[in-house]
């Protein structure tokens, strides 16, 4: 009965896409942005390399847009089929469960707006450079929106690594899961610092 349906494969694809390619892309993207802390020219140079990669539109479609759409839409469905109960059962992992769903929805909204503000504007003829980003984030509302969006996305990635390790059968024992929790915390702190330092470099 079970062999015919795709629910298991869908969940596994969802889990895999979150790390490969999306997690890798997130880190690469934030590292490119971080060049803005060096200088305006350095950022424009790094962003320029990414924008001039061969077959860039196909890279974007298959490594970014399709994975994000699948992971995001299926993820929102997953988030809304859960029923949080941290009120009665307020353990650390149960909080992480709720925050993972919460941050996922925030990240999905943030990324949609972010793509509109940058990539869609490029489609209409704008150029990706330091000024484009600076124009957006000097507005306090957009600064706060990006700040929350970056933290939520990085949290979702870091905490998702923990679930990824369980999903793919890497961490089975309680001890290995505990150590993985510290690893994901470290990833959250380090990647957040990179992302937020980059954000501050634009104002």
């Amino acid at each position: 009965m079970a062999k015919q349906d795709l629910s298991f494969v869908n969940r596994r694809v969802h889990s895999l896409l979150g790390v490969l390619p999306l997690g890798v892309f997130l880190i690469q993207h934030l590292i490119v942005n971080h060049q803005a802390t060096v200088s305006v020219e350095r950022f424009n140079w790094a962003a320029g390399i990414m924008g001039q990669l061969p077959f860039v539109i196909f890279l974007e479609i298959f490594i970014i847009y399709l994975p994000i759409l699948f992971h995001g839409i299926y993820g929102v469905y997953i988030a809304f089929t859960s029923k949080s109960n941290v009120g009665n059962y307020s353990s650390f992992r149960n909080w992480m469960f709720v925050l993972q769903r919460f941050s996922g929805v925030i990240a999905f909204i943030f990324i949609a707006v972010h793509v509109f503000q940058t990539r869609v504007q490029v489609f209409f003829g704008a150029e990706v450079n330091f000024d484009m980003v600076a124009d957006i984030v000097t507005n306090p509302f957009w600064f706060a929106f990006w700040f929350v969006g970056i933290i939520a996305t990085v949290f979702h990635f870091a905490n998702g690594l923990w679930s990824f390790a369980v999903t793919w059968g890497i961490t089975q024992s309680a001890k290995s899961q505990q150590i993985m929790a510290y690893v994901s915390l470290a990833v959250f702190v380090v990647v957040s610092v990179i992302g937020i330092q980059a954000l501050f470099a634009f104002i």
Binding site: M1, A2, K3, D5, S7, F8, V9, R11, R12, I78, F80, T81, S82, K83, S84, N85, G87, N88, Y89, S91, R93, N94, M96, F97, V98, W162, S163, V166, T167, W168, G169, I170, T171, Q172, S173, A174, Q177
Partner: protein, 255 residues
């Protein structure tokens, strides 16, 4: 002094599956060493609520009264557990009793836990040994494996792990921790493992192991201390191997 002491219970009642629930308060005389069930028995003996009205006695399920059958599970002061081992002296008053919300309520604190037994059937949580002739003794089980299996065999299908799980609800089909852990138990068994592919196939369908959200409430709430999240992680791993073996082909679909 002692004989005037009473305990207060707030009970979420419901006449049938279809009707709405309501709260009713009861005061029952205190005796030393009471458990929640003995308080419910007092209400049964004298079904008068704290306003003095005579009402229908509160119904609940019970069987063993020593936390091995799982029948008397309910939500006590917000936490799902067995009412036989909920000692009145150790819990805060008024004692709030609710039926487990994940399951359909039959009446008052009685719930219908059939969905768990259906899941156990679906994942084939047994060792098939029937044949037309004597199949002889099965392979021996390594002692270390037996020790792991013994812990898993303590499951009494009480439903607490489903009740505390945020992913087991009316919007999702997730079967919950108990049946997943039972697949691990029967796949660990040397004879049971000869059919482990069938159990894994069932576990990989809708509502199966992939729908675990890893809130890990189950392992914290399990009254028998079963390592449920280790079981789920073990089955996640086995399911991955099974997925690849099924797709690419393997001579080791079972052991």
């Amino acid at each position: 002094m002692e004989e005037n002491k009473t305990i207060t219970l707030m009970i979420k009642r419901q006449e049938s599956t279809e009707t709405d629930s309501y709260w009713e308060e009861f005061e029952v005389p205190y005796r030393p060493n009471m458990n929640v069930i003995s308080a419910l028995m007092e209400i049964q003996r004298n079904p008068v609520n704290s306003k003095g009205d005579k009402v229908a006695p509160v119904t609940w399920d019970q069987s063993c009264l020593e936390e091995v059958c799982g029948a008397c599970s309910m939500v006590i002061n917000g936490k799902a557990r067995q009412s036989c081992t909920a000692l009145v002296d150790q819990i805060k008053q008024p004692i709030k009793l609710e039926p487990m919300s994940t399951f359909p309520v039959i009446r008052d604190l009685q719930v219908d836990r059939s969905q768990m037994f259906d899941s156990l059937k679906r994942v084939r949580a047994w060792v098939p040994i029937d044949g037309t002739y004597d199949l002889g003794p099965g392979p021996r089980m390594p002692e270390k494996q037996r020790q792991v299996a013994y812990e898993l065999s303590k499951c009494m299908t009480c439903g607490v792990c489903l009740e505390v799980c945020p992913n087991v609800n009316d919007k999702s089909n997730f079967m919950g921790a108990a049946p997943i852990s039972q697949v691990r138990l029967f796949n660990l068994h040397p004879t049971g493992s000869m059919n482990k592919d069938e159990r894994l196939d069932a576990l990989m369908g809708v509502g199966g192991v992939a729908e675990c959200g890893m809130s890990q409430n189950c392992v914290a709430a399990c009254p028998k201390g079963i390592p449920l999240t280790t079981s789920i992680a073990a089955m996640q791993r086995e399911a991955n191997f099974h997925m690849f073996k099924s797709f690419f082909g393997s001579d080791h679909v079972v052991n």
